[in-house]
Symmetry: C3
Subunit: 152 residues, 3 copies
């Protein structure tokens, strides 16, 4: 099954790739690696939640943020490489979670991204990752996710 | 126009590459990728500003910090690869901005770095990036920037 | 001297590779680069210290955390590539240090990792790195370290 069929089966419609919020590009290809910029949980140009985990944002909302950020990353990748079937391996996910004092559930939040990637790409979706609690994130986003994938 | 001519035209003189502040090296080459260590806004061995954005450091000062950190990265790259014309593509910029509670202008600050890279390297300077608010940075620096470039 | 002989001489016994704390894998190989997930200072499944530098955790304890995280990364690498002698170059270390307000000794803490890598791998162990102060880390860990190595 192709990735586009898989997404359809999962009832996932990729959004239009979000425009960068500043002076950079959404993705760069170097050899067979594609580096995707830090993606925020933007939907139709607006953050779906704002604030920090452990304060304004619940874990469930954080998980949804991670999923939306990943869909934005996939939209960017589709634009960058033309076809998501070219992804040979998801290599690394970097997840920054805006964290209030004492919040240590970064892994659970980032699982929203990781589980979705594995559901879509199966073996090819299993990635290395780092989950880190940020003091603040752009636009007061709760989650920011960057990605490296290997293409064929 | 070569990069050194471009820098001259922009009245930019690269500093001597800063010595690492600890037990590591300024850059490592792996294949055609060069990984530059996190650079601080050091000039003549001293931080040009100290503290956090949203408190001691204004956005304008943060932008200047980002520019100075990038010039240090370019000085390191020149030392590492001999000639900045070998840069085929700037791949990724990682920008950490020391952020006080409620400061969410990380993208504007990091634009100091991104715009400078694009001004110098034009199309080759357009990079992926992640902008993240750090709780604290080494030496109380307001900004730390790391970089991956692809060389030919 | 092989790396295993070197480790024996240094009285270092690698631990069993820690299981990921969530939905990802400990390492991914892409071409000749191996990306190791963010490693915590876990020993026998428990953090050796908890809390932040500048508050519950001293610099000496932070250095020990960095060393333990690196040993976990090496255990993961051994499992991933079979033999640590295949490491041609340690490319990049990313070190996140959970930092209380006003703690700026991230480089000293991360040196626990960097010096150990250079002691074990000598020239091949000299890496680029970024040291960043995190607001919070998973499980209330004081230190998280991720790594990229080049293999032959």
């Amino acid at each position: 099954m192709s990735i586009s069929e898989k997404l359809k089966k999962m009832n996932i419609v990729l959004p239009p790739p979000p425009a960068p919020v500043a002076a950079y590009v959404p993705a760069v290809t170097a050899g067979d690696l594609v580096f995707v910029s830090g993606m925020l949980p933007l939907r139709d140009g607006k953050l779906i939640y704002q604030g920090k985990l452990g304060r304004e944002v619940t874990i469930e909302q954080g998980v949804e943020c991670a999923r939306v950020a990943v869909l934005n990353a996939l939209a960017v990748l589709q634009q960058q490489i033309g076809n998501l079937d070219r992804i040979k391996q998801v290599v690394r996910l970097g997840g920054f979670i805006a964290s209030d004092e004492g919040f240590n559930g970064q892994p659970q939040v980032l699982n929203g991204a990781s589980l979705l990637m594995v559901e879509i790409f199966e073996e090819k979706g299993k990635h290395a990752r780092a989950a880190v609690g940020a003091a603040e994130l752009p636009l007061n986003a709760p989650v920011e996710i960057e990605m490296i994938v290997q293409i064929s």
